[in-house]
């Protein structure tokens, strides 16, 4: 990777002001979201941010970064890293998306979610897509996350993917591509909410200058979607969030969601099934549960059906779901849709189910089950990225150019043994965003995970999403479980949301002067001031000597 120092005279005045911050900012092969290497200045969406940063010195920026970290420790926004509770690293430089760019990304994400919904309804039902030859039967059946137990469970409002996170990257040409879909238990939305809060408190002047679309609406949307998914005929459904417990790495998120939705956060042992229904144990006796927003993996959900050594779920849950007395969100068996081999078929699925052209493209991917593809991949293994199909969070991923010869040799054997278990992709140069590191601001690779909530009527895509950033130089794996950090993601401008119509005559009205109720104060206070003034006054006239 070749770096060269940007020539200074291109942007003389900018550089002079921010000599500390953007000094020697290198340009790499990747698309930099803020700095345009040709023009030398910042890209349009970033101009406001760039200008504001220019007014800060390196010391000031670092002070703000420390404030951010401290507020995260105090709030307990932490992530479990190798068994240790650490503050979730939040970078001070946000990622900015222009409004019109978002108008392209958001529908693309929503489209994908709709296609995956249709696909799940199909594979756990009539399997038309297989019959019509859109996707091979073997691909679906061989997916480790295609669960027979999920067949025949029909969600009340037809929604299986209540919450999804579609991972996007921006390649070296600046175009958006889908890296993977997460329709099981995507995590990270709590960091979107808390990043925003912390950033607004740390950079009030930026929020004042830019019009950034708010994200605080998410818990309400989620609760509405979960409520809409309740079994039919239930009045005022009880929604709960099911967490594996306080030791889970995303426990902070579980508690935040439960707290902001005002629902109970339960563990498996708080639930029990009786009489074909799910209940929770409360001090007021048992209480019926209608919708479970579960953050427990399929495997651990019900020891009767899945792993029988699981203490995280509750026995009988699947039976109740099958009876239609409880809704499990996201639905069991969704993993087949985010299988990375199925991923390669998603553009076809979009055309098949929705009769639309895909808005967001996939990253080119080799299916290793095709003999030619396998040979080519084995040949060029040192320049490709190889991923296990059912992994998430960057687990098992091998980056060819960074792997040793021995690693590649073992990998070759594994690929030959189990071609269904792996996919290969070219190394995508993820776009970079300036990030505060030891040496100042430096480009670091980022991806973007927008979150979508499906309430059965429409798919809501939260403006922005979680931008993850790989903190080591040149690192392309951004997962927080791999030591990555995050950035607040700002979507600018856009239409003003509809609000209640205001009548000119009615509003705005200030309190009329005579009707404002005065704020009382202790009359003695006023007198004290007078006394003090008198004493001081006397002191002055007496020539400064106390009397």
């Amino acid at each position: 990777m070749q770096f060269y120092v940007t020539q200074r005279y291109h942007r003389a005045d900018t550089v002079r002001i921010m000599a500390d911050l953007f000094d020697d900012y290198p340009t790499g092969p990747a698309w930099d979201e803020m700095i345009d290497p040709d023009g030398g200045g910042s890209r349009t969406a970033y101009s406001g941010l760039h200008r504001a940063l220019a007014q800060l010195s390196a010391g000031e920026l670092r002070a703000r970064a420390e404030t951010l970290a401290r507020s995260y420790l105090a709030q307990g926004v932490t992530f479990d890293f190798a068994g240790e509770e650490r503050p979730f690293p939040l970078d001070v430089v946000p990622r900015v998306l222009a409004g019109d760019e978002w108008e392209h990304v958001a529908p693309g994400v929503a489209q994908r979610v709709r296609a995956l919904e249709a696909f799940l309804a199909d594979v756990y039902g009539p399997q038309r897509a297989i019959a019509d030859g859109v996707i091979p039967r073997s691909v679906v059946l061989s997916s480790t996350n295609f669960l027979r137990a999920a067949r025949g469970i029909n969600p009340p409002n037809g929604v299986r993917v209540h919450v999804s996170g579609i991972d996007l990257v921006r390649d070296s040409l600046g175009g958006w591509r889908v890296l993977e879909d997460n329709v099981r238990v995507p995590s990270g939305v709590s960091y979107v909410l808390s990043n925003r809060r912390a950033m607004a408190q740390t950079f009030p002047e930026l929020f004042a200058a830019l019009r950034i679309r708010p994200v605080a609406d998410y818990p309400r949307r989620l609760l509405a979607a979960l409520t809409a998914a309740a079994p039919s005929g239930v009045d005022e459904p009880t929604v709960v969030v099911l967490t594996p417990g306080v030791f889970n790495s995303a426990y902070y998120e579980h508690s935040l969601l439960a707290r902001t939705m005002g629902v109970e956060l339960v563990e498996g042992r708080d639930l029990f099934c009786s009489g074909g229904r799910v209940w929770m144990r409360t001090t007021q006796g048992r209480r019926r549960v209608d919708v479970i927003y579960r953050r427990v993996d399929d495997d651990f959900l019900d020891p009767v059906v899945f792993r029988n050594d699981s203490y995280l779920g509750s026995p009988g849950l699947m039976t109740c779901a099958r009876n239609g007395t409880v809704t499990i969100a996201n639905a069991v068996g969704n993993g087949v849709a985010d299988d990375k081999l199925v991923y390669t078929y998603v553009p076809d699925l979009i055309r098949y189910y929705l009769s639309e052209q895909p808005i967001l493209r996939n990253v080119d991917t080799w299916r290793l089950e095709e003999p030619d593809a396998l040979e080519e991949v084995l040949d060029r293994l040192d320049e490709l990225v190889v991923k296990p199909v059912d992994g998430s969070g960057g687990k098992g991923l091998v980056v060819g150019p960074k792997a040793s010869a021995a690693e590649l040799a073992t990998l070759k054997v594994r690929l030959r043994d189990d071609p269904r278990g792996w996919i290969a992709q070219p190394v995508v140069q993820l776009s970079t965003v300036p990030t505060l590191v030891e040496d100042g601001l430096r480009p670091r690779h980022t991806d973007l995970r927008p979150f979508a909530v499906n309430d059965g009527e429409s798919v809501f895509v939260l403006p922005g999403g979680l931008t993850r950033v790989a903190l080591p130089e040149g690192e392309l794996v951004v997962n927080s479980s791999q030591g990555g950090g995050s950035k607040d993601t700002w979507v600018l401008g856009g239409a003003v949301p509809r609000r209640a119509v205001r009548h000119q005559s009615e509003l705005p009205q200030a309190v009329a002067q005579d009707s404002a109720v005065p704020i009382d104060s202790n009359p003695n206070d006023v007198r004290a001031q007078v006394m003090q003034q008198q004493q001081q006054g006397r002191a002055t006239t007496a020539g400064g000597s106390p009397c």
């Binding site: 703000r64 809060r197 607004a200 408190q201 009030p204 309400r220 005002g262 704020i519 206070d525």
Partner: protein, 309 residues
């Protein structure tokens, strides 16, 4: 107890609560102005100022956050600003030094000493947090180290009346600015009531419920009815039963406005919210006057006017 001391105690309760409530109110409003790109800053700031009984600048001047913070957070001389309240609370404590506990005095005095170093931080939020923490310490000391005698009754009486008054002002910001004003969620958050409210209604939040929660909830300590109830209880403790037929003036004002909220359909109250809230504020003010008249009678002070001679 000396009337003058009792009055100071009453005002310590009021000023500390006022600082606390104003900090909450400003914290949430400032945060909202930052996070909501469509907020009409000028209008929101103006309605905030007028509700807090400060005269907004003339119409052609754009009112921004900084101005509001200067007026309502950092002004050391106005009793309606946070800094002013804290200064006054400390002054009152100094006058009642022999009655209040050393702990309480030191807490208020330390607050006063630290005030300059906490004012105008990079993040206003830090200042508000600090003010809330100091107020919580005062409340904690009052709760744990004050006998439940008249000392306690006067302080809690002041605190409850101020709380009802401030909550009423807060609700007025909503009613006056309409769609430009803070949402009910914002109001709940500024009272620290949002999470309690969500738990109570399991997230099935509606405007009406939120309003009802802040107006008439009998269990949440920052609702108007709760605060008024507490004020009445304090007055009852102070009064004893000397007169079995008549009700003391202060109790009449408070009880009247409380029953007005409590025993009327919520929808009627909401329809005329600004009017009702003004009524609450006036009742608090009248009760405060009545309490002064009854418990803190002062010799009419003679004002010598030098210039007239």
């Amino acid at each position: 107890m000396l009337s003058r001391i009792a009055e100071s105690l009453f005002w310590i309760g009021r000023y500390v609560e006022r600082a606390d409530d104003t900090a909450r109110l400003l914290d949430v409003h400032v945060q909202i102005l930052l996070e909501d790109p469509w907020a009409e800053e000028d209008l929101a700031c103006r309605s905030l100022l007028s509700v807090m009984d400060r005269e907004p600048p003339p119409a052609h001047v754009e009112v921004g956050r900084e101005y509001v913070l200067d007026m309502l957070a950092y002004d050391r001389f106005a009793p309606s600003s946070i800094a002013g309240s804290l200064v006054s609370a400390r002054e009152n404590a100094r006058r009642a030094r022999e009655i209040i506990s050393t702990e309480l005095w030191e807490c208020l005095n330390a607050t006063w000493n630290q005030l300059p170093s906490h004012m105008r931080p990079a993040r206003p939020h830090d200042y508000f947090t600090w003010v809330r923490e100091r107020a919580a310490i005062v409340a904690g000391i009052m709760d744990s180290a004050t006998s439940r005698d008249d000392t306690w009754n006067f302080m809690v009486l002041g605190r409850s009346i101020e709380r009802a008054d401030m909550t009423a002002r807060l609700l007025t910001t909503r009613a006056l600015a309409g769609s430009a004003g803070p949402s009910w969620t914002t109001l709940l958050r500024s009272c620290g009531a949002h999470e309690a409210f969500l738990r109570m209604y399991r997230g099935a939040a509606s405007d009406e419920r939120a309003a009802g929660f802040l107006l008439t909830d009998r269990l949440f300590p920052r609702s108007i009815v709760f605060a008024l109830n507490q004020a009445e209880a304090c007055l009852a403790n102070l009064e004893g039963t000397s007169d079995r037929a008549a009700v003391d003036d202060a109790r009449r004002h408070i009880g009247y406005v409380r029953t007005n909220l409590e025993y009327r359909p919520l929808i009627e109250v909401l329809d005329a919210l600004p009017k009702e809230m003004e009524r609450v504020q006036r009742a608090c003010s009248a009760a405060s006057d009545a309490i002064r008249g009854r418990y803190f009678p002062s010799a009419s002070s003679t004002n010598w006017v030098g210039e007239a001679l």
